[in-house]
Symmetry: C2
Subunit: 361 residues, 2 copies
């Protein structure tokens, strides 16, 4: 089937905008990331926040991933329901509603969580108690991103002691999400924390690192035991920007239709911030690359309108044309839609529900 | 019930983040907008893209709205399924998948659509043909926003003639979405277009205007017959910025929990771009107002992390605190979640599914 025939078939079956993934590219991305982790001798624990689809998580595990990472408890529940048993929730879970659910989940699946403060650790004990077996907890450490994570190795050691002292918890190691530019600071943090843990008679446990851009840094840190990367399953403009993907590695395209051409240099796509989201990436210019018209600029959004600046285009799209867009940030796009349309090359395969879409709790 | 008791109950039943609407404020907003339209002698046709909930659309109609406006065909189908019969789709619908569905919808509900070009008009005839009765079409006119819409009155007249010439279509009038600062240009456009329509022997039909900020301009344009406003059902920081709402008029709050306080001047909310969205509003500073800590700044997002800058706060939130956030832009927040939690003052009522969520097609 030709590309134009595929576009026509997607428009006919699903209408546009349609969020489309190419399984050939997905499989190639899975194999590439697994090979990078294998080469570094590091376990691969892909972050499913990007795809939120159990079928894809299972493809990752079949290719060699040790387990998966989730950001929210609701995502983990969906994945456990689908039969995935080794799940790391890399997030502070807080409040009885969540620790209760976490206990239920722990009773039926192998689950590990992260924590960066004593209040969260205290609550997590509740989950272990409900499950009737200890919950593995890693200490989230901040090595420069200024997000979550304890700020010093000493705080990490203190929190590890608190975890180890609870009969309902097991201290399992450290989690980092290092800024790509701060590898030596991150190494110093880890080395100091590990020395302190040994001094305290605690095991050092695992070290979980993360981020698609940090796949380039797998060999730069000593002591990492596993890596969590999400976006690399599909890739996007942000990953292209850091040099870890090319256009051919971008498995997800938004198929959109040009619905208005009110002036020669302007056009409107039927995809706005409710499809492509207003995510600017890391300061990218505009809101996506149009594969058919790379000089076109998606310069602004209304909720259902993408504003095209066509002034730099030699050949301009016509009303009714279907175009393919690489979004700035795939993770937030997938989270907007109930299903992904699945193709292989130019062949339409079907669609998969985004089973963990909207699992914000 | 106290506010703290309400927070505890929402956290217990739903967990956080929770997107919460207060029916007292919703009802007051509905009454206020209806009164503004009534005072101006203009029909109220609220845009449901903000709430996407049939229950609320019915409240608007019960309060006097003539019908509703939808931006996408999928939204209109959901509303028709719920028994709403007078629906305007203010968007260019293009492609056989959509015109086929539109024909099915027209066969069971009173539907009107907008168009701004000949390709779309030609396709719309297909819908009228399927339904077995003519489809009402209004011509979208651009009076300065540079989005969709014909650019000149002459183009509007030409398109009106094309519509009127089709046995499957009826020319029903003009649609505008005027920039708030260009009322005299908009008036000139309308007057010229109306004169041309009369010269061509066509009825002038209705004039549909839109936008919550333009509620302040209802008396400034002659000839408007109906108004489409969406955001005013809940209001948000953007509406506050243009002076049409105060904090007390904001019916929607995101209830979020502080899950990390890694440093004295920083904190992390369990709500990031997958809940509050990266929508900057119209160039607003930060991503929302925290009612309990108005000096706190939500300065950055990860997908599930809201980065708090607390440096300007006298009293700083503690880990575990539940806070209420007025988002920059409510429409995109509602579209992220499967349900809204419904309260009345400090009493928890239940939850409503966001039935038309994710209807991008």
């Amino acid at each position: 089937m030709s590309l134009n025939a595929l576009k026509a078939e997607i428009a006919k079956h699903y209408g546009t905008p349609a969020v489309v993934i190419d399984l050939d590219v997905v499989e190639s991305n899975i194999a590439r990331v697994q090979a990078m982790c294998d080469a570094a001798g590091i376990a691969n624990r892909p972050h499913i926040k990007t795809h939120k689809i159990p079928e894809i998580a299972k493809m990752q595990i079949a290719a060699g991933a040790k387990g998966i990472t989730c950001q929210k408890l609701g995502e983990a529940e969906v994945m456990a329901d689908a039969g995935i048993d080794d799940i790391f929730i890399s997030y502070n879970l807080l409040g009885e509603q969540k620790t209760g659910r976490l206990g239920q989940l722990l009773a039926r699946a192998h689950v590990r969580v992260a924590a960066d403060n004593a209040v969260v650790v205290e609550g997590l004990a509740h989950a272990g108690q409900i499950a009737g077996r200890p919950l593995e907890v890693v200490v989230e450490c901040d090595t420069g991103r200024k997000r979550a994570g304890v700020e010093t190795p000493q705080e990490a050691i203190t929190l590890a002691k608190q975890i180890a002292a609870s009969p309902h918890l097991t201290f399992a190691g450290l989690m980092i999400y290092p800024p790509e530019t701060k590898m030596s600071e991150t190494q110093d943090f880890l080395d100091t924390a590990h020395a302190g843990l040994r001094d305290a008679g605690l095991p050092t446990g695992l070290v979980s690192s993360g981020g698609t851009p940090n796949l380039a840094n797998l060999f730069k840190l000593r002591g990492i035991t596993e890596h969590r990367a999400g976006t690399c399953i599909f890739n996007d403009r942000m990953v292209m920007q850091v040099g870890l993907a090319e256009e051919k590695d971008c498995a997800l395209n938004v198929f959109a239709t040009v619905v208005s051409r009110a002036a020669p240099e302007r056009g409107i796509l039927d995809s706005g911030s409710k499809t492509l989201t207003s995510d600017p990436g890391r300061g990218l210019e505009g809101y996506g690359i149009i594969l058919e018209h790379p000089q076109a600029r998606i310069q602004q959004f209304a909720e259902e309108h993408g504003f095209l600046d066509l002034s730099a285009c030699n050949e301009r799209p016509m009303i009714g044309d279907v175009v393919r867009i690489i979004p700035n940030h795939v993770c937030v796009v997938v989270n907007m839609v109930d299903r992904l349309v699945v193709v292989r090359g130019h062949e339409l395969i079907g669609d998969w529900p985004v089973a963990a879409r909207g699992c914000i709790v």
